[in-house]
Point group: C2
Chain length 268, copies 2
């Protein structure tokens, strides 16, 4: 099944397809209008530090929900969830090293794990599209990608590292509107963190993303400006530096798809 076919699917049905192993693709462009989320799972003894890291870096790490230790379901974002199986692909880190890239994390789960769901900017792509702001990153064949910027995150406990950012090429006359629209959604990264010259935030070549692969969406045309948003891959960069004994995340682009409508989280 191609992801275009899941544009109007309900999140619960997509999660079931994933859980049953019947679909396992990047989630950009599916479940129009619903919030997608990054996953970061940590042992309880590191959860307070990580929570504080997120609070101090709300652009890349907007917290949508935090679970009680050991729980595998959610209370607020969606119902009937199993966080161990309902995302398409996961990464498992031990001591800062990615030791596995897997389809589920049943074998890695433990009673002391706390899951953080962080907003993902894929959630507002449809709002941009509906406002006539071209989203070539949603076209077939495009995959998500992200860059490690030179913007430092505010540290907390053991967690520190660069802000990871996503990039969207936006036509110059649409930048103001893109800022206005995304400002309505701080829960999924909110407004851009940088507009224009990538070198000013330490990105030397847009065709060489640090996460994901180049695609038509990484090409900035003559009438376009690169616009950068905080990205929920940031905790993975922080994990590389902090070396927690265990950390589970989604694989970039394979997001958790919630039952929450993006308009429910709009702040105005």
């Amino acid at each position: 099944m191609k992801r275009e076919q899941l544009r109007y699917a309900h999140p619960r049905d997509i999660r079931r397809l994933i859980r049953e192993g019947k679909w396992r693709e990047q989630t950009a462009g599916v479940a129009e209008g619903y919030v997608q989320a990054n996953l970061a799972v940590l042992p309880e003894e590191l959860a307070l530090q990580f929570f504080t890291f997120c609070q101090r870096n709300p652009r890349p790490c907007p917290v949508l929900e935090v679970t009680e230790p050991g729980m595998t379901d959610l209370t607020y974002l969606a119902q009937g969830v199993d966080l161990r199986t309902d995302l398409g692909k996961y990464r498992v880190f031990e001591g800062g090293e990615c030791i596995a890239e897997v389809d589920n994390v049943v074998d890695y789960w433990a009673d002391d794990l706390v899951a953080f769901l962080l907003g993902c900017s894929l959630s507002f792509d449809w709002v941009l599209v509906n406002a006539g702001i071209g989203a070539k990153w949603l076209e077939p064949g495009c995959t998500g990608c992200a860059y490690a910027s030179s913007i430092p995150c505010n540290p907390a406990g053991i967690f520190h590292g660069p802000m990871v950012v996503s990039m969207r090429p936006i036509r110059r006359e649409q930048i103001v509107r893109a800022v206005q629209i995304t400002s309505r959604y701080p829960a999924v990264h909110g407004p851009p963190v940088h507009i224009g010259d990538p070198a000013q935030i330490g990105i030397l070549d847009l065709e060489k993303p640090d996460y994901g692969t180049p695609s038509p969406a990484t090409r900035v045309d003559a009438d376009e400006v690169p616009v950068f948003w905080g990205c929920g891959v940031t905790p993975q960069a922080a994990a590389l530096h902090a070396k927690p004994r265990l950390m589970i995340t989604h694989l970039g682009g394979y997001m958790f798809i919630s039952d929450t409508k993006i308009e429910e989280l709009a702040i105005s």
Copy 2:
């Protein structure tokens, strides 16, 4: 010194006056334009649960800053702070009972305490006033008050309880503008949680607040509607129910005055 004389004072100077014992009044109406904050301090072993409680109840409990365990100063909201001495009055709870109401908490502080600074709606009163929305609660002789509503907070760990709310009488034709203005400041409670009939949220008599005392500001005139906002006293109500072994808070109305301008936290 009357608080009207501190309307244009810098927060650092007011904090010094408090620390030196030279001024100790409610903080409504002082340091125009600066963010005021509620204080909630808990032992580290309860901090993750409390942080989660705040995340699940962002209207009454918007988190502005969280300290590393044992620290008495701040990094983001203000510089040169001693959280043990820089608020006018504190309450100390043991097992859910208020065991002391004191001018400083030097004797109660410990290395495992984590401080949460939560936004306070006093921060946006000046914005309302500047928009021509009368703030009789800032007039001399008015003291802050709050009500335990029947709106339940979303629980987290041991923390649960009613949402505590503040009330402002707003002229009917100004309600829309008041919603618009306060929506810009989710970090200090954001928009109202209820407009109109107090009984619908379990408040039977506006002249009998659960926190603070009646004043001209609790009287709703014929052309006014009572408008309710989430209040940072909510954690004190949760503490009564959760009975943590230790919790330190500000006394209602005696807020922490930060060096951060309210406009720095506006979301648009």
